[in-house]
């Protein structure tokens, strides 16, 4: 009989039930979308913040001690380098997945035909790597220097047409030396001399405007520095620092075993630095505070902002559902009055109403969940050009939320129904 009554209620009042289900679906979709976006926003904004370039620099151990303010210029004096063949190892660390980009640098001095001594920097432009994990990665300054504007020509395409002796030149140097795209510049390094064809002139808005950028091999040949590199810039997705990370950054050995575990297994910039130092021989990896700190700050703020907006919309959704459930249950006071009159006990009535509402909530909640995923994807694609990954966490959270809200929404209505006096209801209110 119970089932029959509920089935009847659905059949007879399908319009009303549909509306409740629809509202619950709206609320659930709102909660799903907002929760998904909120949980993913850190990752997505992190990717966007990569526009600021590398947040970790790796230099040889001794070089980090010998300051570049000496401006000695003669690289051979210091004599310490990182090994080029170790570069691939950066993608093997614990947090390899978080390393989105990195590029080596090797500098050497050359003499131009005009007699000026200029610095040539070898680097990756869009270096292609096949990783042992089967993934591929295109790394290099094309993405790490997103703020460069190419005033003339194009980016040097390492993989395609420009492998070999090609170069990109900074605007200031190009002006000084009257270099334009297509020119061949003759440079004399400490070991060899080369003809470099200029493929692009860039404006970096900084010191780099006075440099010549060439592929790593070319720079190494010019300076006789086979297999050697000066520094590596790494762009990694990181978790904003907290107290533990700051303590660890000062001295990892001061941590207790469990703290160490936590720290090592969290993508703090300091733990990634530490892991890079483990794989690159004689290296010192340090966070570029300007990027790493600000990133943390902005990420934290964005996340907090999204959390609060999410809370607001959840409150809205919850109150909306509560409201409608109350309104539609109250509407049935006459029917309930009749049931009481023919001898239904309060628990029976409560059970009936709750079962009805909960059935509706399940239907609405499931529909809303999928709609919410859709909304989240719309947001993801139009803002970040990427899908929002749906965390499994969202499912129980939305489920519990919908159930709770529907239950709470039914409470005032049920209380009202229970206090009804059948006579009042049946006699024209």
């Amino acid at each position: 009989m119970f089932v029959r009554m509920i089935a009847k209620a659905f059949l007879r009042q399908w319009k009303k039930m549909l509306m409740i289900a629809f509202t619950i679906a709206l609320g659930a979709s709102l909660a799903t979308a907002m929760l998904s976006v909120m949980m993913d926003v850190e990752d997505k904004m992190n990717q966007e913040l990569k526009a600021y370039g590398a947040n970790i620099t790796v230099v040889p151990k001794s070089a980090s001690v010998i300051s570049d303010l000496y401006d000695v210029g003669d690289e051979n004096v210091s004599g310490t380098y990182l090994q080029e063949d170790e570069l691939g190892k950066i993608k093997t660390i614990f947090w390899a997945f978080n390393i989105v980009d990195y590029t080596p640098f090797i500098s050497t001095e050359v003499t131009l035909d005009s007699g000026d001594v200029e610095q040539v920097t070898g680097t990756w432009f869009n270096h292609h790597m096949d990783l042992p994990t089967g993934e591929t990665l295109d790394a290099g300054i094309a993405s790490l220097r997103s703020w460069w504007t190419i005033t003339e020509g194009d980016w040097l395409d390492e993989q395609g047409s420009h492998s070999g002796d090609y170069a990109m030149v900074g605007t200031l140097l190009a002006q000084k030396e009257q270099i334009s795209v297509g020119d061949k510049i003759h440079v004399t390094g400490s070991e060899t001399e080369k003809e470099l064809e200029v493929v692009g002139i860039f404006d970096a808005g900084g010191d780099e405007d006075e440099l010549i950028y060439v592929p790593v091999d070319t720079a190494q040949e010019l300076g006789g520095l086979d297999g050697k590199i000066d520094s590596i810039e790494v762009s990694a997705l990181t978790t904003p620092d907290n107290e533990l990370a700051q303590k660890a950054a000062r001295d990892p050995s001061s941590l207790s075993v469990s703290q160490y575990e936590t720290w090592y297994c969290t993508a703090y910039v300091s733990s990634i630095c530490y892991q890079i130092e483990e794989v690159i021989t004689d290296s010192v990896a340090s966070a570029v505070r300007q990027v790493a700190d600000s990133e943390g700050q902005i990420l934290n703020k964005t996340k907090l902002l999204m959390i609060l907006i999410t809370i607001l919309s959840m409150i809205g959704a919850a109150l909306g559902i509560c409201n409608l459930v109350t309104a539609s249950v109250m509407e049935r006071s006459q029917e309930i009055g009749l049931m009481k009159a023919i001898g239904a006990h309060n628990p029976a009535i409560t059970g009936l109403v709750l079962t009805e509402v909960m059935c509706t909530a399940v239907i609405g909640g499931v529909a809303g969940f999928y709609a919410g995923i859709g909304f989240a994807q719309i947001i993801g694609h139009s803002v970040f050009d990427a899908s929002i990954s749906i965390r499994p966490m969202v499912v129980p959270v939305v489920g519990v939320l919908v159930a709770l809200v529907t239950l709470i929404g039914s409470i005032p209505a049920i209380r009202m129904l229970l206090n009804l006096r059948p006579t009042e209801v049946l006699h024209g209110r």
């Binding site: 009042e424 006699h427 024209g428 209110r429």
Partner: protein
């Protein structure tokens, strides 16, 4: 000319003939009762006369005007101007006081006038309950408010659908007494009921069966006073 005349009126719901070629005349000032078992078409007839519903076929002349072919808007105007309705379930607006419920009818008709509305309530003996809400009134009192509401605009005809259906004997008597007074004042009354006591008071009773007029009785010794049948 009769005030109301039905000529071959039918109302068909799908395959059900709720009214089947019914003809009827109601004279001005007449007090007519319509009786019949459940499903005989009483309420359908009431709705059609009351311009609440449209007939499927036939002519309905009210004051010489055929209302059968009128559109919904025109029917609304007819209800407003010529008809006073009384329902079994009273149908009072729950959040308006008794006098406000009466004024509601004035409001749609012409201009609300609280004094006049209070007078109407006085006529039904509810002057002291005028500012109570329907929930604070007994069933009989509620129905008397409905009567006051129905007569406030001096309608040509007052239609009552089971007016005593929800009332006890004492209240029934009060309502019938009100009808008698209305009749004395010259109001045309059509009362749908299946209570023989209420039907008997009327001047004429028609009995519907299966959508047709089964038979008609004229009350020879009409007094307008209710005679209680004592049940053995």
């Amino acid at each position: 000319m009769s005030l109301l005349e039905l000529k071959n009126v039918s109302k068909i719901y799908g395959s059900l003939h709720a009214l089947d070629h019914v003809s009827l005349k109601v004279e001005k000032g007449e007090w007519l009762a319509i009786m019949g078992p459940s499903g005989s078409g009483k309420s359908t007839m009431m709705n059609i006369i009351g311009a609440l519903d449209k007939a499927t076929e036939g002519e309905i002349l009210l004051d010489g005007v055929d209302i059968a072919k009128k559109n919904a808007k025109a029917l609304t105007d007819i209800r407003r101007d010529k008809i006073g309705l009384i329902f079994q379930q009273f149908h009072l607006v729950s959040y308006l006081t008794a006098v406000e419920n009466v004024m509601l009818a004035q409001y749609y008709h012409s201009v609300p006038d609280e004094k006049e509305a209070l007078e109407a309530l006085d006529r039904v003996g509810l002057a002291d309950r005028a500012h109570h809400y329907p929930s604070q009134l007994s069933g009989g009192e509620q129905q008397r408010v409905c009567v006051a509401r129905a007569l406030i605009n001096y309608p040509e005809i007052i239609l009552a659908d089971e007016p005593t259906g929800n009332l006890d004997e004492a209240n029934e008597e009060i309502v019938v007494e009100l009808f008698r007074k209305l009749h004395m004042d010259g109001t045309t009354l059509v009362v749908v009921t299946h209570n023989p006591e209420v039907a008997e008071v009327a001047q004429r009773t028609i009995v519907l069966r299966n959508g047709r007029v089964d038979h008609e009785t004229i009350n020879e010794n009409f007094t307008g006073k209710i005679k209680h049948i004592t049940l053995q």
